[in-house]
Symmetry: C2
Subunit: 262 residues, 2 copies
């Protein structure tokens, strides 16, 4: 069920923007594992530069190898930089924070954020791992992923983040079905309070979702009109990204799109 490698990699998820440095005991506590175990894992992670240890405070933080790997990936499959441009346009159009993420295992990895220009706008954690079931981006992806993967995702224990987080698999399936029809997913404060999300899927060359483009707005600001408008803008941005990746949205997606002109 959970290999050692699995647990070790899981440790990396605890290093967030808000907690960039962690100690051995704290990490062990969070991971629910023994100190000795965690210590050995941390040793391995440090050895490969995924983490590094401050020699004075003894705290661990993400290491230089993470930069190397990202550079490496960008060199072979440039995405982040291209995305940046699309997000900039998106934020310019809407004034709201825009945001791109890609499927990374069993979660979404944020790969780009452009902060909104309004005086009040959503601020997102740069390197957070987002849950599928509680975010608009996640639902948008699930709506265009192979059904068996969706079933697998929904069969897990679904964490609750706010009072409004939906954790019932059947209800989520309905939301996914709706997102499939609308080609847009919405989330109303299901991950963070006061944040409303609107997301559209980005497709890979296999015709399935490989990520999502999203707009995050203060929930109180949303109106039906805005939802409609932002939905269209986000959808267009996602289609643009898909094409720039060298892929093409599936017919079932495009045929319903009245603005299909290149």
């Amino acid at each position: 069920m959970s290999s050692t490698v699995d647990k070790a990699l899981g440790l990396l998820a605890y290093f967030t923007q808000t907690h960039p440095e962690l100690g051995l005991s704290e990490l062990a506590r969070r991971a629910g594992a023994d100190k000795a175990t965690v210590h050995r894992m941390l040793g391995a992670l440090c050895k490969h530069g995924m983490l590094e240890q401050d020699s004075s405070t003894k705290l661990y933080r993400l290491g230089a190898a993470t930069l190397r790997l990202a550079r490496n990936r960008e060199a072979s499959f440039p995405i982040a930089m291209m995305i940046e441009g699309v997000l900039n346009k998106l934020t310019a159009k809407t004034g709201e924070t825009s945001h791109a993420s890609m499927i990374a295992g069993n979660a979404l990895a944020t790969i780009g954020i452009v902060e909104g220009t309004s005086a009040i706008h959503v601020t997102l954690d740069a390197g957070e791992s987002l849950p599928f079931h509680a975010t608009a981006s996640g639902i948008a992806c699930l709506a265009f992923m192979p059904p068996e993967r969706v079933r697998l995702m929904l069969s897990r224990k679904l964490a609750s983040f706010t009072e409004r987080t939906e954790t019932s698999a059947p209800v989520l399936q309905q939301m996914i079905d709706l997102a499939y029809v609308q080609r847009i997913a919405h989330s109303d404060q299901s991950y963070e309070a006061d944040v409303y999300g609107i997301a559209a899927p980005v497709f890979g060359s296999d015709g399935h979702a490989c990520g999502a483009i999203a707009i995050a707005t203060p929930a109180h600001r949303m109106t039906p009109n805005l939802k409609q408008l932002f939905g269209t803008v986000v959808r267009d941005a996602a289609i643009e990204v898909t094409r720039k990746l060298g892929a093409e949205p599936p017919q079932s997606y495009l045929s319903r799109n009245r603005k299909a002109a290149a």
Copy 2:
């Protein structure tokens, strides 16, 4: 000696710019491990998004989590972007390819490259993991690292990359000592043929080297004058980076520096 986590992370090193996608069998062959073992490790790596698998070719490549982790690290400890500026200046001054790397476990992680402007200049692999003993950057780091770590490094089996790679620990120790005195390390085609490297250490807040700035030039172009000139320029760039990181080169380094003025 080598934990499972260790081996699994080692797999990531095989994904280079020249080989961005690898299959199961090939990875198993390179890692010298069994297919079943590698398959399980790949599964774990995929689960966390460190790798992803092309659904049609079944090949593996670096995943989106690498981007997330790098973003995360940059958000907490911004280095890459600052480095970029310094490297640009360095290349503008010299016309040659400049390059920054950080200690990442038992190797150096490339975190920045700016290609030279000369018609003929060195081109480096973006995300390669560099060996300490065969690169100028590595020697520069070793010269200002805790002696016991140096001993540990040199006690390993040292790979040979070109006919001129030095693999004898005592000789390397001499080169390290020389680099300590000169505050600059040179490498003459010890890692790649026809490439001459000049590197200076970047210091962390603990007073030890945490990385290096380097210039890579075509070997045939080097002259004693250029070596002298480039050495000074690289050293100044490295000191600048050290200070921008909020650290300070140790007295033993600066006191020998005639251009110590801020």
